[in-house]
Amino acid sequence: MKKKIVSLFMVAAMTASLVGCGGGNADSSNTGDSAATTDNSAATTDTSSTDNTASTDTAADNTQAEAEPAADDIEKPEEITIMIDGTVFTKENGQEQFWAKFQELTGIKVNVIQPDHDAYYDNVGQTIASGDWPDVIILSSTYYSAYAAEGVLWDMTDAWENSELKKRQEAHNSTGIVEGVKLNGRLYGMPSGRGNGCVTYVKKAWMDNCGITSVPTNYEEYLAMLEAFTNGDPDGDGIDGNTFGVTAAGFIGNEAPYINYLPEFYQDAHPSFYLKEDGTYADGFTEDAMRAALERLADAYAKGVIDPTTLTNGTADCRNKFYSDDFGVFTYWAGTWASNLKNNLINNEIDSELIAMEPIAEVGAYLDRVPPVWAITSTCENPEGVFKYFIEAMQDGGDVQFLFTYGVEGVHWSTAAETLYAGETNDKGESKEKVYAEGEFHMLDNLETPGTQYTKAHIDPALAPVELANDPGQKTIAPEAKESAEMFATHSVTADLIPSTDAMTEYNGDLTTLKNEIVAKVAMGEMTIEEGYAKYEADGGAAWSQQIVDSLNNQ
């Protein structure tokens, strides 16, 4: 009997311990300042690869009602603690020199908590749960809206309204970026740039080979181009029908705005929640626009113009297929990715001329993601000071912004005469050597991954709301990157920031899984549109959706 009891106890103990693991992030124990290292994902890469989902907030009750102190009364903080992801230089990439330079420029000492980029939000959750909050924190839109709703973030609306930063952004006509992250009219975080989004690139050589003389301007022309790319011989290998028109990583994205990899098929459809013109929220999944989008996807897939492996593709698979000349139309990030795509095509000895298409008539505008923000927590002792001397300074158009854009001289960039990668060759045996004259601005070799040059620090100059007074880096931006970024900026609208509500927390996980399953099955012809919507009703999707919509409209 005793043995049985001991056995039972041991089994129960093991079971319970498993629950501790299986229950997600339930434990509130904090890592606090534990996370000091990081990968280097950002800092050296395009901002488009950092992410954020769009959600918005409902907006917490605003606790900050006191009158804003006059600028002269605002005390400069001596020391602040910040929690940042890998989009700012990591330890391996000169973090210490970066913040030392910041201290030199501003007189403020910054204590940095920088968890691993991939586990950043796990650490953020643990830190917030611990109650030991940093003064400043970088947040993606999902976390931004949720934390704002829970009162974690300081309401910086008044500080913004009275700031020099607002005037600077007004001068650059870029205050729309801040407006896009307001929650019920209140501001809880400051973006350091636009969120960026995707544009559709077409291989010019493929168009020529198929006798297509002009870039499609509507869906009919777009589909005709895809059919020509699929059934003809656009790659000129003498074989008809061994290529595809377009591909994507799945039929629907896994983060807001969900439709940005296949915009020509989705057009005006909203698979998830959106803000209508009348100011109310709706779920676009059951609207006619979404049904029409599903019809277009199913039709195109049946015709074979969409890559048959779209469902199981990752973004890296898509890029590799594009570089291998397997398909001709690719909706991908604007800006520096235009150069990356071009360079990789060149490396594969494939004609590299890409046309960044303006959105077709039915799409109207590409979607600009809601950008990540720098937020001040509500436990910060001197939020006005942090706003003025840290958040504002980051976009001062001068030295501090330069630091956040390019990093530290001698560590991340230089104007000294030098030769980088002397004697080094790429995979094809071509020389990688780069020679710079005295006084010529250039980024330096990556400290963590030698062989690649830094492209920026934290702020992408092409996406910044405030231009640098004297930006030597502008000359280093490749023409195709500049062109695609400018085209995107002209032809994009900011995606909606959807608030976080209890009902969303409760049901949106199941709802999104259900919607994604229906979209995939309908697109692949495993289910008709009617069957898809019948499943949506039967599995509770309509009821969950209604509860979320009600919660959004009754905040």
Partner: protein, 321 residues
């Protein structure tokens, strides 16, 4: 006083010494045990307190709010949960039976190979996939099974005239073929590793039994049927019982191979928890995911107890816990 009674008394007197004396006497053992005890407390016992979140709504910001059995009530009313629960049981049990069965068969055949070098080469080849990560395995099979001209399997089927070139099979993208494909990949990856334990059993067998069988006129098939297989039976049962206790733990292999179109047949409890946590577009309710985790663990515990009883019956009183 009999000898037996004397021994018993000696043992009893030893264990009746005061705790302090016993600890002092066996201090070395206690010191050696200490790290394990600390490890167990930190990693097994302390996390158990997380169970309480199952009875709360908790988003990691505000203090947990006690909601009683509300999370369990929601869980039992969610079709997605039940689908994940049945998928977990079905996939795990079928996977267990298949891998054990195939491993036994492979072990029996390996045992019949006389050339020791050839046997070792074969063993090494079939062990290797076990050391590949599931992410690499998934990428590999996505490529091999692609429904395009680049997919090895489909190209082969087309060349054999079994499949139309315009209608290739999307093995990983269809609910009809996903499970079968998953089992095949599972077998490819894990069969070799599973054979280790069976091969060890076979290596310890008394060769005289085979000699005796030969004298009695038994051929290779007869020896395999009447000597080898019965010798393995107890090991097979042990392996099945031990693995049955773990059937609820299924994540990585499924997660890397599943996609939106096959969720109805592939979503298991652990991937369900994952999607609840990261797919909501909001801060998740950790209370709910903990409730699902607790339920999963309770089912796992029930299986352990059942297996323990079963083990005692078939293994002459020897349980697994």
């Amino acid at each position: 006083m009999s000898k037996k009674q004397s021994v018993s008394k000696q043992k009893g007197s030893g264990s009746n010494k005061p705790l302090g004396v016993r600890v002092k006497k066996y201090a070395g053992f206690y010191v050696m045990f200490l790290p394990i005890l600390v490890f167990a407390i930190i990693f097994y016992y302390l996390p158990m307190f997380g169970v309480r979140y199952a009875f709360t709504n908790y988003n990691g910001i505000k203090a947990p709010k006690f909601v009683g059995l509300e999370n369990f009530s929601k869980m039992f009313n969610m079709p997605g949960f039940w689908s994940a629960f049945w998928n977990t049981l079905q996939i795990s049990v079928i996977r267990l039976i298949l891998t054990t069965l195939v491993a036994v068969v492979v072990s029996l055949f390996l045992n019949e190979i006389i050339n020791i070098h050839f046997k070792k080469v074969i063993q090494t080849i079939i062990y290797l996939p076990h050391f590949l990560s599931w992410v690499v395995t998934a990428s590999l099979f996505s490529l091999i099974l692609a429904p395009t001209g680049q997919g090895l399997v489909n190209t082969l089927l087309v060349n054999l005239g079994l499949v139309d070139a315009n209608n290739m099979i999307y093995f990983l993208g269809s609910s009809k073929t996903w499970r079968g494909t998953f089992y095949v990949i599972q077998l490819w990856k894990e069969t070799g590793w599973q054979t280790v334990i069976f091969m060890a059993t076979l290596a310890g067998m008394n060769l005289e039994l085979y000699e005796a069988a030969s004298i009695d006129g038994a051929g290779r098939w007869g020896k395999m049927r009447y000597i080898t297989f019965p010798a393995l039976a107890n090991t097979i049962l042990t392996v099945i019982i031990l693995n049955l206790a773990k059937v609820m733990n299924l994540f990585e292999s499924v997660f890397v191979l599943q996609n939106d179109a096959v969720l109805d047949v592939s979503n298991v409890l652990e991937t369900y928890i994952y999607y609840q946590s990261f797919n909501s577009g909001s801060i998740p309710n950790y209370g709910y995911t903990t409730a699902v985790g607790l339920f999963k663990s309770l089912v796992g515990m029930a299986l352990v107890l059942i297996c323990n009883q079963w083990s005692k019956k078939v293994r002459e009183g020897r349980g697994i816990v």
